[in-house]
Assembly symmetry: C2
Homo-oligomer: 432 residues x 2
């Protein structure tokens, strides 16, 4: 029997889920895994509010030292989120001789190298399964089961809020703002959903996946990023007309020119597995050179699925598996020969372009010319004319063949300066 004592830092939604598992399923876990995991301290500034979990009064503390200075506690779970003070707490836990488990993608994406280097120096491990795709055990898969493969590509829906918004716009023909409100009402979106809807959250998760799958340390802020906040109801409708759905895809793809990383609302074929991911589900498709495609779907967030992932890391730490994996992968050490990351402007992709234009002759010719002279080939074009007050305004949709982002940017900029433009243009990606 592997017995460990655990301290939990941060008693919010996920913390309550973790406490619920560790306190109420201790016997089940002992029976099925040979690990006896005792939650001995929970630290939070607020130690009195009811979180819906019965917690013995004496294990609650607002003094972090009760965890850090207790040498019997060998695993510290960090669930406060954000960078500081989470970063300092994790460093302190490692320095106090504890292994760390965290669900904090911002922390790992921003401070991965610092934390992992320090853990290596101190002979400790960091588990972070819950930081990407919540309950879906995909980081464990990449870290062990897929290790015989060279990973060719990852396409992932890693933000449940955005997927809910897009599903809602699709199924109810809602406006973007109404879909956001509905997501907030149901608890799928924060009061301020910016970090979700602008793609930041997805990009941080993609950066973590890129390190695991490709050995690449990437500053997530440099990754090509478009959020769902640019998607209009009309784009969802046009996508449908084109036999497609819009999903916010985080993509990492090995190309001849290096690793292409992007987060963009993307038109995917309606019969693809990713198109069928609805509501707040997450999903990830990984292609390995030997494995071929493997597809995972599950809850990417929420108290219980995330707590399940956190606890699997705690069990791994208790059994000693976490340390083996941690040492074997030397993540963020720079030791693994990664592949060069393509500059965002060089990434080739097919594009969906929507221009709002005055409905008059010559418009299509000018747009086609702006694309053509940059070697951007048009696959198809759709036009919808609407009466808009006293003006006839048209939405012009163009699907292009693959072209570099720089060429697409420059073409769109030129077109946007034309006198016939009557609104904001939109550029999404298209994938098969």
């Amino acid at each position: 029997m592997n017995s460990v004592k655990v301290g939990l830092i941060g008693f919010g939604t996920i913390g309550a889920g973790v406490a619920n598992i560790l306190l109420n399923k201790r016997e089940q876990i002992r029976q099925t895994t040979n690990a006896d995991i005792e939650l001995v301290k929970i630290c939070d500034r607020d130690i009195t509010s009811d979180r819906g979990v019965a917690v013995p009064r004496e294990i609650m503390t607002s003094d972090l030292a009760d965890i850090m200075d207790n040498p019997e506690i060998s695993v510290a779970i960090e669930l406060i989120g954000g960078i500081e003070p989470a970063r300092s707490f994790v460093l302190r836990a490692l320095e106090s001789g504890k292994n760390v488990v965290t669900a904090n993608k911002a922390l790992i994406a921003n401070c991965g190298k610092e934390l992992f280097d320090r853990a290596r120096e101190l002979g400790r491990s960091i588990g972070f399964e819950a930081s990407v795709c919540g309950g879906i055990p995909v980081l464990a898969s990449i870290q062990s089961s897929l290790q015989a493969n060279r990973i060719e590509s990852i396409e992932a829906i890693v933000n449940g809020t955005c997927n809910f918004i897009l599903s809602e716009m699709e199924s109810k023909q809602s406006a973007y703002s109404d879909a956001v409100k509905e997501a907030q009402r149901l608890g799928f979106a924060e009061a301020n959903p910016t970090l979700d809807v602008d793609g930041s959250d997805s990009t941080q998760k993609l950066a973590i996946l890129a390190q695991l799958a490709f050995g690449v340390a990437v500053d997530w802020k440099t990754v090509s990023r478009v959020g769902v906040d640019v998607v209009d109801a009309i784009d969802v409708r046009f996508a449908k007309e084109l036999g497609r759905r819009i999903r916010l895809l985080a993509v990492a793809e090995r190309t001849d020119a290096g690793l292409a990383l992007s987060v963009t609302p993307t038109l995917v074929a309606e019969d693809s597995a990713l198109a069928k991911v609805s509501n707040a589900f997450n999903a990830i498709q990984i292609v390995g050179d030997f494995l071929g495609p493997v597809f995972y779907q599950g809850w990417g967030a929420g108290r219980n699925p995330t707590a399940s992932a956190v606890c699997s890391d705690v069990i791994d730490a208790a059994l000693g598996r976490a340390k083996i994996t941690f040492d074997a992968l030397h993540l963020w050490s720079g030791q693994r020969k990664g592949i060069p990351v393509q500059s965002a402007t060089d990434i080739q992709s097919r594009a969906y372009l929507r221009f709002v234009v005055e409905d008059r002759p010559g418009v299509v010719a000018m747009i086609a010319d702006a694309l053509g002279k940059r070697n951007i080939s048009i696959e198809s074009m759709l036009q919808h004319v609407e009466e808009n007050g006293d003006q006839r305004v048209a939405s012009l949709i163009i699907l292009t063949y693959a072209a570099p982002a720089a060429a697409l940017d420059s073409a769109v900029q030129e077109i946007e300066k034309a006198s016939f433009i009557r609104g904001k243009s939109v550029r999404l990606a298209v994938r098969d």
Copy 2:
């Protein structure tokens, strides 16, 4: 660096895939996992045929002792399939101090207890990821990532041959026999496909899943089993009319009356994830009490995906993770408190019944009566009349609400004795 020497027993299709990975990706694996895995011997009766992989002449042997008696070899990979001599070879490898990796579901399903007990006595481990769902890393997930959960149910498509046949019948309106021929032509079915199409293969895999997920040791031969060989083109068509698809599902489900295990062609809703699994893909949906549903899809067979799974087990053995997992789970030890397995006759399920009847008054009333007096409620009924020579024959389809297998059996038996019956009846399952 963890260095291990490996011996491979069985140089067929999968063996060639494994040799390809271990010989040609050694440096990649060393770099990404810290494990240096050297394939030092391959044993097969045939050591001269070309398997499409360049193998140094000196590592080929037809003498098993070259592996068994080499104390430097710490991992033996068994890929000969079937029970004997695979069983003896695995025992001999364990007794020679080697950890074992196998892709052999028949061996694990039939001899799990004997082999795992022996491995425990000898302090060795057995890895068997490739035995279920080929390349999909689902056994690893159940063995580690999902450990904080009580698993509520598993619904799985674990036989690619059957899924190909059903997909083919669906997309091309093929007869069953034509779909089998096409599967054989494309290499998805053996010359003698009996063990696939009669559900035996799926049932063996279900027995392995039941041990991992529910701690239950079940004799696969006692599990309720219907193969795809009972499915007719007409059933595929009727299923479609009902907004459903037929998939061969292996199901393990926790119920108040115990664990319900079954393998049956099942009508699933056409918009469900399982309905969308096409071709020779495998898929598995697992519901955990905290995790909720998690769904996996990938190649369940074939040289490369299976070799990927085998090699992940070899890496796990090399790193020492396999031993930890093996010791923690005490599989087939009887130590874990499993749940009672429901008798096949008690299992409740919704049913799809098809009767071929003479088209005359009174038939429906008699069938409805046979069901009604056993408390089997009818959810819906469909009738299709066909001219069949000089006779008018009708196919009568009935979807029932949930009823115990025994009641359904007895009703069908009674109905089949009626004078209006003009052909074989079919009974499939229905799930939401």
